[in-house]
């Protein structure tokens, strides 16, 4: 294990198994730390379970019947088990934000998209909403592009702008952990660059867990990297070490392009 003594834990998966409806096991005994204010990248070939793992952190699997978790995801500083049946998934999602693969702005104005999470939490104060919307849009590096048309429909924005809007939407409620599920796979290189820069900027405010198919992206944006294969966590470590001298043969094969 790399020297991580100065790091603070934000979350930790312990003995995590996951079964999809029908009993197919998608995650096998995952043990992995997520460090506070760091970017952790999940890499691995398609179908390796990295998105399944990511979606466990905000209990998205609860939306579909028959899915089952085993094990724990401890969440700090309060040491809650996010997967405990008595923990309300809505409470979990209030603390853990998510940005999806395809930009999915709501059929509302730019302003209302960003204010959505605040309104869900019952915020009514107009000044408070205005402030937080602006703050979130600035945080997502979108404010200058949209400040004059906040009432326009979000669907009029370009794909890259829509994805930054979705990031602003997630940021507006000050999540503690932000999940990114291949956030740039539907974007062109310029928009991708903007999002990557943003991720780098955001880790000052929030812990980030990002799934990516793009190894260069993982190397560019993350502090820690985990390589997953067939539902197992093969290797976890500092990104530099994973990419420069991976310990496991399978990790090496994957990042050098011999496999996957």
């Amino acid at each position: 294990m790399p020297n991580t003594t100065q790091e603070r834990l934000k979350a930790e998966a312990r003995g995590l198994n996951f079964f999809y409806n029908g009993g197919i096991q998608a995650l096998k005994n995952i043990n992995m730390p997520i460090y506070d204010n760091r970017v952790t990248a999940l890499i691995g070939p398609s179908g390796c379970g990295k998105s399944t793992y990511l979606r466990s952190f905000n209990r998205m699997h609860d939306l579909y019947p028959g899915n089952r978790y085993e094990g724990e995801i401890r969440f700090y500083p309060d040491d809650t088990n996010l997967l405990a049946p008595e923990v309300d998934p809505i409470e979990v999602r209030m603390r853990v934000g998510m940005v999806f693969q395809k930009p999915n702005p709501f059929p509302k104005s730019i302003y209302e998209n960003v204010a959505y999470g605040l309104r869900v939490r019952g915020e009514r104060n107009r000044r408070m909403l205005d402030d937080k919307v602006e703050h979130a849009l600035r945080g997502a590096a979108l404010w200058d592009e949209v400040k004059d048309r906040l009432q326009d429909l979000a669907s009029n924005l370009s794909g890259g702008q829509q994805q930054r809007l979705c990031i602003a939407r997630a940021l507006a409620t000050d999540p503690e952990l932000l999940l990114f599920d291949e956030p740039t796979s539907a974007l062109d290189p310029i928009a991708t660059g903007a999002i990557e820069e943003l991720v780098h900027e955001l880790k000052k405010r929030v812990t980030i867990l990002i799934v990516t198919h793009n190894m260069q992206q993982a190397a560019r944006v993350s502090d820690y990297t985990a390589y997953m294969f067939l539902g197992e966590m093969i290797e976890f470590g500092k990104t530099d070490e994973i990419f420069i001298k991976p310990k496991d043969r399978r990790t090496e094969d994957y990042i050098t392009g011999r496999m996957g």
Partner: protein, 319 residues
């Protein structure tokens, strides 16, 4: 004339006339088949268009005879509708008011109930419940309207009279209420389709923000499905405006200019069915009122359809 036989055995003429290759003649045959199919399809489409045009033609031409004898101003402003009396009046507003009031009552019942059912089926019900509930709901739409009419007259009116002692035996309220029940399955079914068509990614985005099922349904799914919902409401309006038997049975058939649903009144449709069943001589003014009333009904329906198209364009799926 020289011909060259290629390796595939196809005859190629180099003189420009005479031979058609086997392959080309096969293509020509296929072309004729295509033409035949195209013609059949075109005739099928043309049939419905021609029928519509024919109906419009009859309505308009007969109405012209009517309006040659009665001025349009009288038709629109007169407050009495007594076309078969000696002192004949032709104020269509009398029938329009009955039509609009009963339709409004129906929509006030059908839109909230139908939309609620659609939200439940689309966002809350499990797949088993949906598979059972939806066909049963659609069965409601298959009940003959005359059955609904007697249901209104013999069941709903007495129940309403228990709550509203002043309600007469025939009323727009009772007929409209049952008409609303009849329309519920249309709205529920079409709205549910529209809401289910909203991509899951949009819902996941809403849930990921910590919203509940109901909040997601109201604030994300419904706005996304608005054009489909609007389409289902417009269809409901057309059904309500054109509905005949329920009103003929349960709303009374005396012409009555009223905006009060607690009164009995004739509607355009119930007037037409009443008069058409009688033995009016062809060409008489009474006979021509059928067409003038029918034309009015057509124009009202057309107006709602245009509004519906406009709504659909305005709120086209933006996801």
């Amino acid at each position: 004339m020289q011909t060259v036989s290629s390796t595939t055995g196809v005859q190629i003429s180099n003189t420009g006339s005479g031979y058609i290759s086997a392959r080309l003649s096969h293509n020509a045959m296929r072309h004729w088949n295509e033409r035949l199919i195209e013609t059949v399809l075109f005739l099928a489409a043309a049939l419905s268009v021609l029928t519509t045009l024919g109906i419009v033609y009859i309505l308009v031409s007969e109405s012209i005879h009517f309006f040659a004898r009665i001025s349009i101003v009288d038709f629109l402003t007169d407050t009495q509708w007594t076309p078969l009396f000696d002192d004949a009046h032709f104020g269509i507003m009398v029938l329009v008011s009955g039509t609009l009031v009963s339709s409004l009552v129906a929509l006030l019942v059908a839109i909230p109930v139908g939309t609620t059912i659609a939200i439940y089926l689309s966002e809350f019900a499990g797949s088993r419940v949906r598979e059972i509930a939806k066909p049963i709901l659609e069965l409601l739409g298959g009940i003959p309207t005359i059955v609904y009419g007697y249901f209104a007259l013999l069941v709903v009116t007495p129940i309403l009279q228990w709550a509203l002692p002043n309600l007469p035996g025939f009323s727009l309220l009772s007929a409209g209420f049952v008409m609303g029940i009849m329309i519920v399955p249309y709205i529920a079914s079409l709205s549910e389709d529209a809401m289910r068509a909203v991509p899951m990614s949009l819902r996941e985005g809403a849930y990921a923000m910590g919203s509940s099922r109901l909040y997601t349904a109201i604030h994300v799914v419904i706005p996304a499905a608005l054009s489909g919902l609007a389409a289902s409401y417009v269809l409901a309006v057309s059904r309500a405006v054109g509905e005949t038997m329920i009103l003929a049975v349960a709303a009374g058939m005396q012409p009555n200019l009223t905006w009060n649903p607690m009164e009995p009144a004739a509607t355009i449709t119930s007037y037409i069915v009443q008069v058409a069943l009688g033995d009016l001589p062809h060409g008489s003014i009474g006979y021509q009122t059928i067409f003038a009333a029918g034309l009015t009904l057509l124009l009202i329906t057309l107006m709602f359809n245009i509004v519906g198209q406009w709504l659909r364009a305005k709120y086209k799926e933006n996801y």
